[in-house]
């Protein structure tokens, strides 16, 4: 029993760290552009298909294939921002939100047209033996996922706090007008944010596809929404919050899948969101903002 719980916790940590990677993209974009990038979940899907194209159709080795995937996703993120979101920067939020939904829907239906609705099986690119510590088995994919997410998060934190571009990002998210006045190129900073967010989504997509080993056009929607829940849970706009929220959400999901009901686990995850928003809308680590008149 104890081992079982421990194993479920580790599973939760694995799914949770993938959610955390995706949630980082949401939270960074929200912090800077003050919008929910609904299409973020579908970038994971594009990443997974890009990896499939690189490995199965183009026969690339693993490392170039991963680089190819990351480049495709980052470029896509920049394109989406330039074409769909930039003209609406001063538009009402409802308009931006509907556009974002449109983009998400566009990516889904475009890949439906190209790759058809039938799920494509995909062999995991991570072949590491599982290890056994005191009766608890940890699979290779779990180890890789945990290592990759930890490295990405440390790198991101260093980037945001130590580099010039990182400070520019923090400045823009604090006050866009003031940032512009002190000579920060706001447009370039926002583009950079989208590129980094999409890059992280590509990494998450690769890890996700190695875990589930099946591709379909709507595969990005559910992890995307759950990662958003994670971002809200941790406090949207806060980077440590997104990491914390992702991991908590992953553990909740894996425990409810194992001990309550598989079918209801999604319902439980969304109920968590509703409860959090009711009790503490700013999330665990978020700042509370008062509305100005």
């Amino acid at each position: 029993m104890f081992n079982n719980i421990l194993e479920q916790l580790i599973n939760g940590l694995r799914t949770g760290s993938i959610y955390a990677l995706i949630a980082l993209g949401y939270t960074m974009v929200y912090g800077i552009a003050k919008m929910i990038n609904f299409a973020h979940g579908d970038i994971i899907m594009v990443g997974a298909y890009a990896l499939y194209v690189a490995i199965v159709l183009l026969h690339l080795p693993v490392i170039p294939a991963i680089i190819f995937t990351c480049v495709v996703c980052s470029v896509l993120g920049i394109l989406i921002e330039r074409i769909a979101y930039k003209p609406l920067r001063n538009a009402p939020r409802l308009a931006v939100l509907i556009t974002a939904i449109g983009v998400s829907y566009f990516l889904q239906s475009a890949s439906l047209l190209i790759f058809k609705a039938t799920p494509i099986p995909f062999q995991s690119i991570i072949n590491i033996q599982s290890i056994n510590i005191g009766g608890v088995t940890i699979s290779g994919i779990t180890i890789v996922t945990l290592v990759v997410t930890t490295i990405s998060m440390i790198a991101l934190t260093l980037f945001i706090n130590k580099t010039k571009a990182g400070s520019a990002m923090r400045a823009v998210s604090e006050d866009m007008g003031a940032a512009q006045l002190v000579g920060i190129n706001v447009n370039r900073t926002i583009t950079l944010t989208f590129a980094i967010g999409s890059f992280l989504a590509a990494v998450a997509g690769i890890l996700y596809i190695c875990q589930y080993q099946s591709l379909k056009p709507t595969m990005g929607a559910l992890p995307g929404i759950k990662a958003f829940v994670a971002a809200v849970l941790g406090g949207i706009g806060s980077i440590p919050g997104a990491m914390l929220g992702g991991i908590i959400l992953g553990i909740i999901e894996s425990l409810s899948k194992a001990f309550i009901s598989t079918e209801l686990s999604d319902a439980i995850v969304f109920s968590v969101l509703v409860i959090v928003l009711l009790v503490k809308p700013s999330g665990f680590l978020g700042k509370k903002k008062n509305e100005k008149v």
């Binding site: 929910i36 769909a84 939020r93 983009v103 829907y105 209801l264 999604d266 969304f270 969101l273 509703v274």
Partner: protein, 329 residues
């Protein structure tokens, strides 16, 4: 001045009535003359269902100014409640259907109230996500419940609202449209619109914002529930996966294309977007892609310089002006 306004309102009502009667007479003549083939007649009820759905979603999106992505959820509640009633009851058709419509609408409205409660504290993006999550919760609950027959769904639902009973469906559609139009024109409706335009200002003049938000959700959910009941008895089979995120988006596309805050626009867009895919059967794969592009382009166009230029232009300006006043920020 007051008198003139009344006269104008009376004239408007007369025009509306004339349009309704004319449409009905035209339909009846076409049907009885046998000019409509099977393909067209089978479209009548889906059009009416989509009109009800779009008009009710417009109440939330266009007039209250909030985005609801769970409209298909409300629809599915109505559909399942109504279908379970007519399957399990043994009464004359009209009794069963009336009961199903009332119960379907009422249960959906109750859930509208439940989902309306978090709305008290949320707006904008958060609200959209909660409604989306709510739609997913409903779907997974429907899959896991025994009474709804899980993922296999309900079968052999009596077909009470096929094209043969288009009169009934037509009347229900007209009632829904008129009800929502009157709500919008009423004191409550003005309160709802003022929440959209500036919720803080609305609060400061003593309007209970939360109450009106919940009320809007309840009304909208009620009509979505009724549309669901009609759908269930038109198709005869229900599956939880029919009412997914895509269905909600489809309704949203209708509302956005027709113009947020324009009921007449919603009706026209619902007719076009229901009939068009049927008539262009071959291009079915591109339909979704087209929807997405339409959503993006309309939003970009609405906030672009091109539209500004057109509005300032004399001829086009007059065409668009009347609509422009209604559309909110």
């Amino acid at each position: 001045m007051e008198n003139l306004k009344k006269k104008f309102a009376g004239k408007q009502a007369f025009i509306n009535l004339a349009i309704i009667v004319l449409t009905y007479v035209l339909l009846t003549v076409l049907m009885s003359a046998g000019l409509l083939n099977r393909q067209y007649t089978s479209l009548l009820v889906p059009i009416a269902i989509n009109v009800i759905l779009a008009v009710s979603l417009n109440l939330i999106t266009g007039f209250l100014g909030e985005l609801s992505l769970g409209h298909a959820g409300f629809m599915s509640i109505g559909a399942y409640v109504g279908a379970l009633i007519t399957i399990n009851m043994d009464a004359p058709e009209i009794v069963e259907l009336t009961l199903a419509l009332l119960a379907g609408g009422a249960v959906a409205a109750f859930f509208g109230f439940v989902i309306g409660m978090p709305v008290l504290r949320l707006n904008g993006d958060y609200l959209a996500i909660v409604t989306l999550g709510f739609g997913e919760i409903i779907k997974s609950v429907l899959i896991s419940m025994k009474i709804t027959n899980g993922a296999k769904g309900l079968q052999r639902i009596p077909l009470y609202t096929t094209y043969k009973s288009y009169t009934l469906v037509f009347i229900l559609m007209v009632i829904s449209i008129l009800a929502i139009m009157n709500i919008v024109k009423s004191r409550h409706g003005r309160a709802i619109c003022s929440i959209r335009d500036n919720s803080i200002a609305t609060q400061s003049i003593g309007i209970n914002v939360s109450r009106f938000k919940v009320m809007t959700f309840v009304i909208s959910a009620f009509f979505a529930g009724i549309a669901g009941v009609l759908y269930a008895h038109n198709v005869g089979i229900l599956k939880p996966t029919t009412f997914d995120y895509n269905k909600s988006i489809e309704i949203l596309v209708i509302v956005v294309l027709g113009g947020m805050g324009s009921i007449r626009g919603s009706v026209i867009a619902a007719i076009i977007l229901t009939a068009l895919p049927e008539l262009l059967r071959g291009a079915d794969d591109f339909r979704m892609l087209l929807y997405a592009v339409v959503l993006i382009i309309i939003m970009l166009f609405n906030h672009s310089k091109i539209k500004e230029g057109l509005l300032n232009n004399n001829i086009f300006g007059k065409l668009f002006k009347s609509n422009e006043e209604k559309v909110g920020e």
